[in-house]
């Protein structure tokens, strides 16, 4: 598989739309176009191998299922994962002759995507830094009372930041990177330590994504229990995710009622303490 200049340029345009501080808005850009699952669809359409694109997108989406950006800090960059990582992974998988939907293709995709995504955070900070220039224009406009110009500060000038730090890097890396990836094929044999490690890491990386979510959810050890119940339902009882969600809704209703009952029957401060103890006792039984 080779990537033409034209294909590389379209990938670059999508990178502008989706990268954080994205030109297509947060909900549509970052949270839709930027998700690897959607990126897989787009890259699959652009590169003409829908099945492989989706398979790579699915694999990478697992790693980044919880791409939370607390306080505007990023640990991975969606433009790099979805529009540099997925195309390169597609090239790598094709050149290695792996089955598109197999687990080894998925593990390779995860490793390539994570590597590129992590390095890609540089692009995020570069865009945010260049935007300071446009913002300085904006402060002058506010001082001089030219309020109408604020629209071009917010919606126009940042395109330049993205042309430099989203469009160009994506276009060049996907165009030249695909040649490099193909050349690497013989350098690293599949049964060597390097490739074995790469594939093993690929299989483990989604654990980091889930752990980031857990860090948000778990504030005390007891919070692990719903997580383990969900895991057991799927791992031991082999329920699918819709079924797990339906069962969890029942627990959600119970928790809501308990919480509301707590609030109405007790004074807030004393109630919180005694209700907390009741919870613990119930869990012990």
């Amino acid at each position: 598989m080779a990537i033409s200049w034209f294909q590389a340029a379209i990938l670059g345009l999508f990178a502008c739309l989706c990268s954080n501080s994205c030109m297509a808005g947060q909900a549509v850009g970052n949270y839709t176009i930027g998700r690897p699952l959607v990126g897989g669809l787009v890259c699959g359409l652009i590169l003409g191998d829908l099945k492989l694109g989706i398979a790579c997108g699915v694999a990478m989406q697992l790693v980044y299922i919880a791409l939370v950006t607390p306080g505007g800090t990023v640990s991975a960059d969606v433009r790099a994962i979805s529009y540099i990582g997925i195309p390169l992974a597609m090239v790598a998988i094709t050149s290695k002759g792996l089955a598109p939907t197999g687990s080894s293709a998925a593990d390779l995709a995860k490793s390539v995507g994570t590597l590129v995504g992590t390095i890609g955070t540089v692009l995020f900070y570069a865009v945010a830094t260049l935007n300071l220039v446009w913002q300085s224009f904006g402060w002058k406009d506010v001082q001089n009372g030219k309020l109408g110009k604020l629209y071009s500060v917010n919606f126009g000038w940042p395109w330049i930041s993205h042309a430099i730090f989203s469009f160009l890097p994506t276009m060049f890396l996907t165009y030249y990177g695909s040649t490099a990836v193909t050349a690497l094929r013989n350098a690293l044999p599949m049964d060597g330590v390097a490739m074995k490690t790469l594939f093993t890491v690929g299989g483990m990386l989604p654990c980091v994504g889930i752990a980031i979510l857990l860090r948000q959810i778990v504030s005390k050890p007891i919070d692990f229990i719903p997580f383990f119940v969900g895991f057991t339902l799927a791992a031991s009882l082999h329920l699918n995710l819709v079924s797990v969600t339906v069962i969890s809704l029942l627990f959600a209703v119970i928790f809501y009622e308990v919480e509301m009952a707590k609030g109405s029957s007790n004074t807030p401060t004393a109630g919180a303490v005694s209700a907390g103890n009741d919870d613990d006792e119930e869990e012990d039984i």
Binding site: G25, V38, W134, G138, N154, K196, T200, R215, T232
Partner: protein, 281 residues
Amino acid sequence: MQKTEDIKTIDKKTLSHSFHLWFWGALTCFSQEHMQTFGYMSSMLPIIKKLYPKHDDQVKAIHAYTAFFNTNPMLGTVIVGITASMEEARANGKQIDGETINDMRAGLMGPIAGIGDSLIDGTLIPILLGISLGMSTGGSPVGAIFYIVAWVLIAYFGQRFLYFRGYKFGDKAVSFLVGAQGAAVRHAVGVVGSMVVGGVLATWVNVTTSFKLRGSDGKVFLNLQDKLNSIYPGLLTVAITLFCWWLMSKKHVSAIWTMIILVGVSLVGVLLGVFNPGLSY
């Protein structure tokens, strides 16, 4: 034409314009220093232009929004709606000044960021993605299309609802957001989130070991993976996940370093023969 002493109200078209500016532009001109400040100013601009016919008043009014602003852009829509209603009250000569508006904004952006990140980024999106991933198994585009349609509809109409609710209730909306009922809803949604995340992990991630002990006759007498499965299916997957969680939340290791540590664990495991993806050309 209305006289200046008449009550000024913002019409629906202006509110809608302001909402769209926020929906598309909350973060377009992002920088580490000012974050969403410019997104906020541009979404307040139609409202200010509507409420203050005189240019000098407009310039004076916009200064209330030059302060630093950053929150969860989805749930944060409610704050923009609330300030629209407060700005209206200010234009009508109520006891509200720029400082009151700014205090409310500054006071809400922290809690809304926390609630929004855990409810939307941490719960709603992983649930949607988890379900969509299942539909895209085997390279089918159905899951990706389902996610696009479901999420964009939820995001657009959800944020629209939040904006107009914020406008309708003004600063009274604050008490629901941080009140007891809001907390109960968050707790309940959090339970759904935790269970689905557990399900996502079990469905999609499968860390296995290839470690086997062989007797002198070459027969396998200990297959570690089979033993682990008989204790608790997926034990190794959960163990690696908890290890990552422990590193990040207890040892304060960053996500990137956690990944690098996993590379080390894998390398050692491959060398010892614990992990083997079993690939060849």
